[in-house]
């Protein structure tokens, strides 16, 4: 089973940019690329392991790490210097995040766009499902909704544009694809992605100690389940009686 491809070129220089007077952005590039994202997550890990006093929080994205800081405790220049120091020997050793097998129902009843997505890719819906569920997806970042993962990369043959008319609402758990990304929506939301399935697992529950199930750097395999299993698991999830555990551990926190 293969994961996203990695660019082989030499790492490009990073930049530290102001983002207001209480945040800076360490920018590794301006594209969605696993190598860039691994550098982002490696820096986030380093800062989590050896916190710099004055940092309030960090926000990893596809290609940059935003660092919010308290300017009364550390200045931009001092923080930029210390972060630069961390970047010097930050070779992006691929980071083995936790591995999850996330059940997803691809039945047309909960996958309104699957047939169309398969048609555009020129393959049968079953083939689309077996490609989508037969690979490891990398969690680039969480965002848009609480605990919502952006996963990639789909093979180029499965890439398709967003829907021309976004839906005003898709159900919680919906699995959407567009370009080479997959998103899983923890809450009901308006959405322009093509919905190809639905997971019964609650990716977000603010009552849990770890409210977000997934973290940036995790790896996900979608495990096809039928409508009956989906309904059963969804009911257990809603009662808080089914919480998915990773099948492989990640780095020590």
């Amino acid at each position: 089973m293969s994961g996203p491809a990695r660019a082989e070129a030499a790492p490009e220089p990073s930049r530290i940019l102001a983002n207001g007077d209480a945040a800076l952005v360490v920018e590794f590039g301006d594209r969605i690329d696993l190598t860039l994202n691994e550098r982002v997550l490696a820096l986030a890990d380093r800062l989590a392991a050896a916190p710099i006093s004055g940092i309030v929080e960090t926000v990893p994205t596809f290609r940059s790490l935003m660092i919010s800081f308290d300017p009364s405790r550390i200045g931009f220049d001092a923080l930029a210097r210390r972060v630069s120091g961390l970047l010097v020997d930050a070779t992006a050793a691929p980071r083995a995040g936790r591995l999850w097998r996330l059940p997803v129902c691809y039945d047309p009843e909960v996958a309104p766009d699957l047939a169309n997505a398969a048609r555009r890719a020129g393959i049968a819906p079953e083939a689309f499902v077996s490609r989508h569920s037969g690979m490891i997806h990398h969690v680039y970042m969480l965002g848009f909704l609480p605990g919502q993962p952006y996963l990639g990369d789909l093979p180029a043959e499965l890439a398709l544009p967003r829907r021309e008319t976004p839906r005003t609402r898709v159900a919680a758990g919906s699995v959407g694809v567009a370009s080479r990304m997959t998103c899983v929506f923890p809450k009901e939301t308006p959405c322009g992605l093509n919905i190809i399935g639905r997971t019964p697992v609650a990716l977000w529950d603010h009552r849990r100690r770890e409210a977000a199930l997934l973290a940036p750097g995790d790896r996900v395999v979608f495990e096809p389940v039928g409508l009956e299993d989906f309904a059963r698991l969804a009911e257990l999830s809603a009662r808080g009686e089914f919480v998915l555990a990773p099948v492989a551990a990640g780095p020590a926190p």
Binding site: A18, A22, V25, V56, R63, M66, G143, H206, A212
Partner: protein, 350 residues
């Protein structure tokens, strides 16, 4: 009976907010919190609360509520507004003012009208609301549907539980709200995508006047005016944004992010409003005029320190209400329609 404020009419959008839910943006959770944190702090001080206690954020028009507690001391700071108090058994109504503490009794009804001069008004109640924090904050996160009062704006019939069944008897105090006069222009530090705009375009941006358009909510506001042209397109790969980020989308009309902004954004950001001016940003509403002023990092630091000093010295701006001005309701309820001494801190925004 649980001491509470019973909401009879909620106003346009009234939510519980504190200074925000800090530390969870990597999970996609916005910070949220009061749009105008300075006014919330001052409202809390009026009633003896810690500055970061949760209060009500009132947008555009205010709520009407009834006191279901022995007594409750409240204070309003922010927009100008007519506050009308109706006391059970008393035929007259009384107009009370913002910027001072007021002791309400069981059965009192307080009604807040339309806001003027600012889009936000804050109400604190002594002791605070008895609401469990979620992830360290009682701020309402509307889109996520959690925090505050049931994760939503108030509705008629809501009973907001109070921590204290009654407020201690003491003299009332006022705060010098003239302090909150914001600068005429919002100061901006450029970046992180200022290289998407030519020097000429940036200079032009800082000379223009904008108006807040109808697309305004707690997440952000869209401005109307002259579009900003980028030299490198209107899409970037999503990266982190902050409260005050000025994003330039495809139509060139700036979007300024507010308290409940999403954690990342895919438009180039020409700059961000500096932290000292965020409370002022939180007073703007649909139709407000604004302009931006480019500042250096050093100027932003000086402004931030001045703002920190202002916050630190807020308590010195409190003063006891003298007997004449103090709202001794039993005696003053006989007077009809007292002249409201509302402080219009934000007249500059027109």
């Amino acid at each position: 009976m649980i001491p509470a404020l019973r909401i009879l009419a909620p106003g346009l959008m009234t939510t519980v907010q504190d200074l925000g839910r800090v530390g969870y943006q990597r999970l996609g959770i916005p910070v949220s919190g009061a749009l105008d944190a300075l006014s919330l702090r001052a409202a809390n001080l009026l009633v003896g609360n810690p500055p970061d206690a949760g209060g009500l954020e009132i947008i555009a028009s205010g709520p009407t509520f009834a006191v279901e507690a022995e007594s409750a001391r409240i204070g309003f700071v922010g927009a100008a507004v007519d506050l009308v108090l109706t006391r059970e058994g008393s035929p007259a109504r009384s107009v009370i003012t913002t910027g001072q503490s007021v002791l309400l009794r069981r059965g009192d009804r307080l009604s807040a009208g339309s806001l003027r001069g600012s889009s936000t008004l804050y109400m604190a109640v002594e002791g605070g609301f008895d609401i469990a924090p979620v992830m360290g904050s009682v701020s309402t996160y509307l889109r996520g549907g959690f925090g505050g009062w049931r994760g939503r704006a108030l509705k008629p019939g809501d009973c907001l539980p109070l921590k204290r069944p009654q407020a201690p008897e003491r003299g009332e105090i006022s705060v010098d709200a003239a302090l909150f006069t914001p600068p005429r222009r919002l100061r901006v530090l450029e970046g992180p995508q200022s290289d998407h705009f030519s020097e000429d375009e940036r200079t032009a941006f800082f000379r223009r006047d904008y108006v807040v358009g109808p697309g305004w909510n707690r997440m952000g506001m869209r401005l109307a005016g002259e579009p900003v042209r980028t030299s490198r397109g209107y899409n970037v790969t999503s990266d982190g944004v902050v409260r005050g980020s000025i994003q330039i989308p495809g139509d060139g009309l700036p979007i300024v992010l507010l308290a409940e902004h999403q954690t990342t954004g895919g438009y180039p950001k020409i700059g961000a409003v500096i932290s000292a001016d965020l409370p002022a940003l939180g007073r703007l509403g649909v139709g407000s005029r604004l302009a931006f002023e480019r500042v250096s990092r050093d100027e932003a630091d000086v402004a931030r320190m001045a703002h920190a000093t202002l916050i630190e010295r807020l308590p010195s701006r409190l003063s006891p209400l003298d007997a004449a001005r103090s709202l001794d309701l039993p005696t003053r309820l006989g007077e009809a329609n007292l002249v409201s001494g509302v402080i219009d801190a934000c007249a500059w925004m027109g």
